[in-house]
Point group: D2
Chain length 344, copies 4
């Protein structure tokens, strides 16, 4: 029945290659991140991104995002993000905690994507005086909350606006792999070459257990002096850091991150094809949002499928649902769901 | 050579039974801590401590300690602890971060243990006015930074003082297992029955990978309403929480925590016997602190042993060293080190 | 020319009676707020509000608001307020600082007033889980940013919703006097009797120099244990607190607060009558918002009047302006401005 | 009887010249610190210190100190200060609040003064790793908590150590005037020329009402970009800032600050001469600490004098007391106290 669960990619098992890598790191080694595995992180990500990177492993996406933001934005300033961004909606106020009270400034945008104009308009609305909070950074999500990918040009347009206004650019890449798999671009093109200063590189949703990477590009390398302290101070430096590093290395050293993401994306595409006109957003990653009535949702659940209601049903019983695929879903695994949806 | 490394119990491998438990949790399950494994945590610890407990799994001891303190002490107050406590010396200021600027008030005490009198004296020195920070909690470390265990009566004496003065009592139990193994008491006797409100229950140093438990006893159960939010907000709620829960369950459900701690303590005792008059502190857990000259330290390292210099050598070359054993050290494994020390 | 300045009530002189009261407090007295003047604050405000009050004097409205909110909302929760509220727009992120990262949740509403429905809708949109920030309090502004007064019934409707949902209610009363002068109600009716727990009682804009009062009603009296510490810790306990207390006592002991507010309101009404169809909001306090083209604004400035452009002029030169009157404006003083506006 | 009160210089009246300056600032002017008086602050202090200064007026010494420290030390680092410093003992944890959890590291030292060696020793004890909090700044108090002045050479020696170790230097000058009056040096010699980066310049204890100045010297001018935001965010930017500026200008533009301090110092010297062998510390400012038995203290109080017991009386009734003089005490005013002490 496991293959019928589409609640979240967070529920998937750990990929066998990740398990193997963790086991291989089991010999006694130096504590914290002085071990052989942690020491290889910078190199592995520098290879992947074709540029020197500083990498900090942490256990969760919330930690990766909020440590990044804390390194980019002082307590008295603000970060611009989409009004439905994970950092605003689903991290329990972690940005406020990590940044010492700094503010998230919320922007509208279709599909939970931000357009450069929205950034400009918001910045223009801030009086340049001491009474109003001034902005320090922009944070975008790749893929977005609704599974949409920013193309390299779109990121670059945001990066240009950010740079022109003196802001840095953070990318929440909890599903970065899915976006890159969809775009078919190089990881570099959609990040630092497009103006991204710091990336939260997701691993947990993509077959990892509990490791995410903060990737600091050269434009932000000054933050690498601060991040080790912020991470330790937040309780996110693990004494057996080698088990985190091993997960991340397993992901990036053999392209497992892309292989897994492609599998998940492909499975989502199968569902999307069946959903057709029900779709609320184009499917560019591993999430499918579709219209569903209360009765239809109930029918699918009765048939053994599990998923998340997106919002509440209206008085007529109309609503929406989210289906998330993961690395373990082959196209055949989702065929029963696709058929059930098509048959509604 | 692994068995010759005494730098830190943080460097040891993960115990096979812990690996097995983690693998067993690999099936798809609910995300965050709604899964079957996480749901068993409260019960397992309640059994162990013979009282209803609320348990929150986190990745590190720093997170366990500082979330506990944040739940017990508001930003404008203080926590009393030993001047060499881990929370003061080795957590990079995490208590200040988690508690929103609350203060650690430092107490003296032999062997990094606090005596009730030291608490009373410090509290008496605080004017009861708005200019001085008032205390909310006491935090003690079991076993202490120097590997000394508090007997149940000692904890109870501290608990009595705390209660009488309106303070709560936190126990940093990063090496709780080693202390209990030494004392031979029930876990309950040395915690809630002695006045402990919240315990950081260590697992990583004792054969775990990256899981520690915050154990909330009944006297502090009001904090159980707040801790889930504080944990999430700190990025310490893992989406695949079942792998943390599995580690903790493996530890407590078959007494593995005590088995491992006994092995480590026994190995430490072998070293201690060889060190004899060199010992700086009685050895009651898995840490051995001994006098060593610079030349002696060099000789041991040449012989293949690895350990931590404790402080700096004086101008005559006299100094000290710390040897830490772990679950993987059998008595035979430490015999070569013991012999080498005895031969100095 | 002073009487031609309508930029802000913050620019007005100190009322002579306030000066007199401050001078009368000049004798040596106990430091901090142990002096005779500070000791009378609770009594004076308790008389005014017909109920036992705890009063804390601070220097600014920002401090009054944010200390109040910090006492009502823990760091991991949120305060609901209007999207144009002073605490959101003009306090430089002070709420985030004082509350340790807690969040402001923004509500829409005409005239910068909140309706109970907006509160309910926002609360209903928050999932009751650990991923989303939960609310602790509501903050409303009396009079609102656009000079609108909440009637007692309106406050009570908000108070009822707040109470029903487990929230407390704070009132930012920077222009509380102007609102009460307009409403003609008792101070009690529009505050604690309507569910307000803590009030920021304004004095500076109403003829004071640098004193505002945090007024804690009985429903929130538990916060009176914490507020003295929060105030001191924020550097807002003044060592010569008697000069703050004297200002506040001068305001409330002889109804000066209402006399001054009535004068300001009356002057605003004269301007409003002249502005007529230009008005953007009904004038219920001492602020007049009106449509003005760039040329008209320039003409008024040339004629010697000073005021604040509200927002920016559009490409056709259409825009808006804010005129604020104060205690020192008699109706005759504003007649020239009224005539100039009428003649545009 | 006012002249018989020696409890605190915080209890003294406002000096007539300060009153006059405040009244002179009463005309309508620009709000916040855009007014004519605030605009003159930088110039007036630049003249006094013979170097370009940026000056920020706030209401209290706690605010001046803690805003300064927040500008000099990020949340994850530490400030070194004396273990009896005001920021540690008497500001209710304000440094932790303002600095977002940064730590005070406490140093010993006779007379509450810090020696360069104490700084070096403390810094040397900090491991240069991520587990320990690293220092960013040193804060010294001029005059110290026990009324001792640092000579220019002493400050310079501290400044040299600080600079060599990459730390900045803050001076808490709540009684800076008294120290300079005692030393007879130029204000520049004992501050920026000796390595002080930011000074809290006291006014309230020296005849002011509720204004203190943060004086930023050239070496720290980068903090001038941040301080306006930190001040506003802390609720310490007053809308009628001209009344604060007027107090500070009255102090420094006519040497009133030195005149007042000399009067207070002189009165303290008269008391000190009478106390003779009772003195606990040399008297170099306006504070006299002396041995006094419980009976002697009672006798002096019966005779009408008021003062602060310093600590508690031992079981034999031996204790200590603090007498503080202020600008209003002429030598003749303290003669009765001196006589009473001499007669004990």
């Amino acid at each position: 029945m496991d293959k019928a669960r589409f609640f979240s990619d967070n529920a998937a098992p750990v990929h066998p290659a990740v398990w193997d890598a963790m086991r291989a790191a089991d010999a006694v080694d130096t504590a914290y991140d002085g071990d052989r595995w942690s020491q290889r992180l910078n190199g592995a990500f520098s290879d992947l991104f074709e540029v020197p990177c500083q990498v900090f492993a942490v256990a969760t996406g919330t930690a990766a995002n909020c440590l990044s933001l804390a390194a980019l934005c002082p307590p008295h300033r603000a970060v611009l993000c989409h009004e439905e961004a994970h950092i605003e909606m689903d991290e329990a106020g972690a940005p406020g905690f990590y940044m010492g009270g700094a503010k998230l400034m919320l922007l509208p945008g279709a599909g939970a994507k931000i357009a450069p104009d929205a950034i400009t308009a918001r910045l223009d609305s801030i009086r340049n005086d001491v009474h109003q909070v001034q902005a320090s950074a922009v944070s975008i999500t790749q893929a977005s909350e609704y599974g949409l990918a920013y193309m390299s040009e779109e990121v670059a347009a945001i990066g240009d606006v950010a740079r022109a206004r003196g802001l840095t650019l953070h990318m929440d890449g909890a599903r970065f792999a899915n976006a890159v798999a969809h775009l078919g671009c190089s990881p570099a093109d959609v990040t630092w070459r497009a103006g991204v200063d710091v990336l939260s590189f997701g691993c947990v949703k993509n077959g990892g257990m509990n490791a995410e990477a903060i990737v600091v590009f050269e434009s932000a390398k000054a933050t690498s002096d601060v991040l080790p302290y912020l991470r330790k101070r937040a309780g996110h430096l693990q004494s057996k850091g080698r088990y985190l590093a091993a997960q991340l290395l397993a992901m990036v050293e053999d392209d497992l991150w892309l292989t897994n993401a492609r599998a998940a994306n492909s499975a989502a595409a199968v569902i999307a094809a069946a959903a057709d006109e029900r779709l609320l957003h184009p499917v560019q990653a591993n999430e499918v949002f579709m219209r569903l009535t209360r009765d239809e949702a109930a029918a699918l659940r009765t048939a053994g499928f599990d998923f998340y209601d997106w919002g509440v049903f209206d008085t007529c019983g109309n609503g929406a649902a989210r289906f998330v695929t993961s690395w373990q879903h082959g196209d055949a695994d989702v065929a029963p769901l696709a058929a059930a949806i098509a048959a509604l």
